[in-house]
């Protein structure tokens, strides 16, 4: 096993162990809002703040729910974001290309900070 595989295996084992002992338990008691907020915080980056300017939080939430990106328990379905990538318009933001759906997620993550 090379160093990279070794690190990957040990990291995965550590993650599994901590998830089952702590995070997993916490997640069970999270409300819809807490769960969604937690996921949006995890993906937020400072540069996404400018996305707030042209977007409305409620409209983003509605759109992402309608697209089945956010489910009824407040989970962001990243597989669904990928599924839509094929048909989504590709948009440039801060020079990088994004799918329109993921930009909505990042815009919502920025609204979530306030």
């Amino acid at each position: 096993m090379n160093r990279r595989d070794f690190l990957k295996t040990t990291t995965t084992l550590g993650l599994v162990s901590s998830l089952s002992s702590v995070s997993g338990c916490i997640d069970v008691f999270r409300s819809y809002d807490e769960r969604l907020k937690h996921q949006l915080n995890a993906v937020f980056e400072d540069k996404f703040k400018t996305l707030k300017l042209d977007t409305n939080k409620e409209e983003l939430l509605t759109r992402l729910k309608n697209k089945k990106i956010i489910d009824s328990e407040g989970y962001i379905l990243t597989e669904r974001v990928q599924e839509l990538a094929l048909t989504d318009e590709m948009q440039a933001f801060e020079n990088f290309y994004y799918t329109s759906t993921e930009l909505d997620v990042y815009a919502l993550s920025a609204h979530n900070q306030s």
Binding site: A42, T78, A92, F96, Y97, E102
Partner: protein, 448 residues
């Protein structure tokens, strides 16, 4: 063995030029041990400005003259004395599309031995590309390098030629004219490169011109050989758009297909996509030195973050060419002018977007916009196609066996025979085609 003069010996085979192609063929003749062969080279073992000046050209278009000079070395080993050793096979697509007059299966078996000669890392033959997504649009298609820093043919194969009983090597000797007598080459006029000695004649039964992408058409044009053929036309290069943008590559998605990290990582378009959309190929390379967790498709994923450079295939255009001018050089030979224009930045920009979209769809990464306004475009020094292979005498110079149309005993080796360039560095294929030509000479031409 290395000789000082030929003593008027007549050879079975005379090879003009000791670069990747010429040395490969001479090595095969040495291993076979029967065909009396002479390998001629303008330069010697050491770099010489005098010899190198014989590669001077005038230039028009995207490059200045130094570009062509830099990639036409006159030294034993040729341009492998300076190459960066990046290797990738040609793509099957251009063979399927009949751009080549032969099938891909006719060249594929020779990559194995070429792989060993260049001392490439494992994978260059059997892990040429890998799919990482269900969609057949882009692939992981890396460039392989050798175990060493670079394989210099002049150093690697000097001993085998030095010890050969049937292969003579004459350095510091420049072929200035190939003499055609009807449908035969009768002899060559050779000029000592450094000494003020008279020209002399070399005779062979068969000849291989292996002087590089500029040198091959140059010699034929200066000799008025094959003047009924489009010698010098259809010159190709690989436009390199250096630091055309940045890329984030999802490590988890790519991990299963990255066979070894000892490669130059790259994505390329699939053959099928190029065929379906009638586009030429392109390749985007990236590095794996830095990784960060980046937001990708709604969550943070571990990605390599790297600058991204793009190289694109060029079409074979008649107006890109090597041609003679009316002026004479110091040796009294017509000067050469090279005209080469890329003109493919718009296509490169469009294809970049295809890569950007497909990386997202595959959860494989993210590209920035193509930084076309501040683009730094260079060539790879890959001078190809100037005596291209084909069946039609109006649009090609050599046939499927690298023999010049209409001349019974003249062959051409090197990247000048390429009918299509793919998005692949050429040397690996130069060696493979030279091995194929060697086999043809040994089994068909010298079989008796």
């Amino acid at each position: 063995m290395f000789i000082k003069d030929t003593q008027n010996k007549e050879y079975d085979l005379v090879i003009i030029g000791a670069g990747a192609a010429g040395i490969t063929i001479a090595k095969k003749m040495a291993e076979e041990g029967k065909v009396k062969t002479l390998l001629l080279e303008t330069g010697g073992f050491e770099f010489s400005e005098t010899a190198w000046n014989l590669s001077n050209v005038e230039a028009e278009g995207h490059f200045d003259a130094s570009h062509f000079r830099n990639h036409s070395q006159r030294i034993f080993g040729g341009t492998t004395s300076v190459w960066s050793n990046m290797s990738s096979m040609l793509e099957e697509r251009s063979f399927i599309n009949k751009e080549w007059p032969i099938g891909f299966d006719e060249i594929l078996p020779f990559y194995d031995e070429a792989h060993d000669m260049i001392q490439l890392r494992d994978g260059a033959v059997d892990h040429v590309y890998a799919k990482f997504t269900e969609r057949d649009v882009i692939q992981y298609r890396p460039y392989y390098k050798s175990y060493k820093r670079s394989t210099r043919f002049g150093e690697e194969f000097r001993d085998i030629l030095s010890n050969s009983k049937n292969v003579d090597v004459l350095l510091n000797s420049t072929c200035i004219k190939v003499h055609q007598d009807n449908n035969q080459i009768s002899n060559l006029t050779i000029r000592p490169t450094f000494q003020d000695k008279p020209d002399f004649t070399v005779k062979g039964k068969h000849y291989v011109v292996a002087c590089g992408g500029i040198g091959n058409p140059r010699l034929l044009l200066q000799s008025s050989v094959a003047s009924n053929l489009p010698v010098g036309n259809y010159l190709m290069e690989h436009p390199h758009y250096i630091d055309a943008g940045h890329i984030e590559v999802n490590i988890e998605t790519l991990d299963p297909v990255i066979y070894t990290s000892k490669t130059i990582h790259a994505f390329a378009l699939s053959d099928q996509y190029c065929i379906d959309n009638n586009v030429l190929n392109a390749s985007i390379s990236f590095k794996d030195h830095v990784s960060e967790n980046r937001p990708l498709l709604g969550h943070k994923q571990e990605c390599f973050t790297s600058i991204a450079s793009m190289r694109t295939e060029m079409p074979a255009l008649k107006e890109n060419k090597v041609a003679l001018t009316d002026e004479l050089d110091n040796w009294g030979l017509p000067k050469v002018k090279v005209t080469l224009n890329f003109g493919y930045t718009d296509q490169a920009k469009d294809l970049w977007k295809v890569f950007a979209k497909e990386l997202l769809v595959a959860n494989a990464g993210r590209l920035t916009e193509f930084s076309h306004e501040k683009l730094y475009i260079i060539g790879g020094g890959h001078l190809m196609g100037s005596t291209r292979m084909g069946n039609n005498m109006k649009s090609s110079v050599v046939d499927g066996n690298c023999k010049v149309h209409g001349i019974n005993n003249l062959y051409i080796a090197g990247s000048s025979i390429f009918s299509a360039s793919a998005a692949a560095n050429p040397t690996y294929s130069i060696v493979a085609f030279s091995l194929r030509l060697s086999e043809h000479l040994q089994t068909q031409v010298f079989k008796s």
